[in-house]
């Protein structure tokens, strides 16, 4: 049951990533990336990271990607232009890339066989929160300052000339 879910979600994620690369319009690429993120949230649930999967959808798919979609709409980002695509590169390069990819998958898979497989622990929100607020409270507060800096930077950068305030 879990294997079926894993393969379904993994297939969706890889299909979304391939579609991100192959689409001509940026808005379709953004939609593909949203699909990848939702599939990844499902995979995090399979790994027992329930809070992180919810955070992934709320923050990543629900806020960061909305920002991307806004910028694409506002800038009317055009299509990808055609490039001079070398036939030779396609005939030799693509099979070689496929071989490289298969080798990557094989070696990474073989190398991570020895990794342990303990049982999935649910109810991680409370220990996670304890860890965030006790052991890692300093990076936590630093990231809040980081976001403040990013907000200020974005507002200052995107301001038009001659704006008051």
């Amino acid at each position: 049951m879990m294997m079926i879910l894993f393969f379904a979600l993994a297939a969706i994620a890889v299909a979304g990533a391939v579609s991100l690369i192959l689409q001509k319009e940026p808005i379709h690429s953004a939609l593909s990336l949203i699909i990848v993120m939702v599939a990844l949230a499902g995979l995090y649930l399979l790994l027992g990271a329930e809070f992180i999967s919810a955070v992934q959808i709320i923050v990543y798919a629900g806020a960061i990607m909305v920002l991307f979609v806004f910028v694409i709409m506002l800038l009317n980002a055009g299509n990808e232009e055609r490039t001079n695509f070398s036939r030779m590169a396609a005939y030799i390069g693509l099979p070689l890339a496929a071989v490289l990819g298969a080798g990557l998958v094989y070696f990474v898979g073989r190398g991570s066989q020895q990794v342990a497989n303990p049982e999935v622990v649910t109810d991680v929100t409370r220990p996670l929160a304890m860890m965030l607020f006790k052991d890692y409270v300093f990076p936590f507060e630093l990231t809040s300052i980081l976001i403040l800096i990013a907000i200020l930077g974005a507002v200052v950068l995107a301001r038009r000339e001659g704006d008051s305030e």
Partner: protein, 100 residues
Amino acid sequence: MVPVSYFIVLSAVLFSLGIVGFLFKRNIVTMFMSIELMLNAVNLAFIAFGRSLGQLQGQVFVFFVIVVAAAEAAAGLAIVILIQRNRKTLNVERVNLLKL
């Protein structure tokens, strides 16, 4: 029970697809989205390893990666807006001169 190595392999595949997207696309926003794809692949690897070691530090780190990706997306997209305003194009091959 799904072995953790499957998740690692999936993370590697997504990361390499992100690299391919970053190298081959010429629209700045799409390149940015490939970077986000790479970050997501890394998040998956973090959580998979965190589960295999039985610790929660993996999830803590993913939390921080998501927050930093948000800050980076905000600042980066502001820069993209500036590029569009000054160069009237979003094609990185046209943004290759230091002088306007």
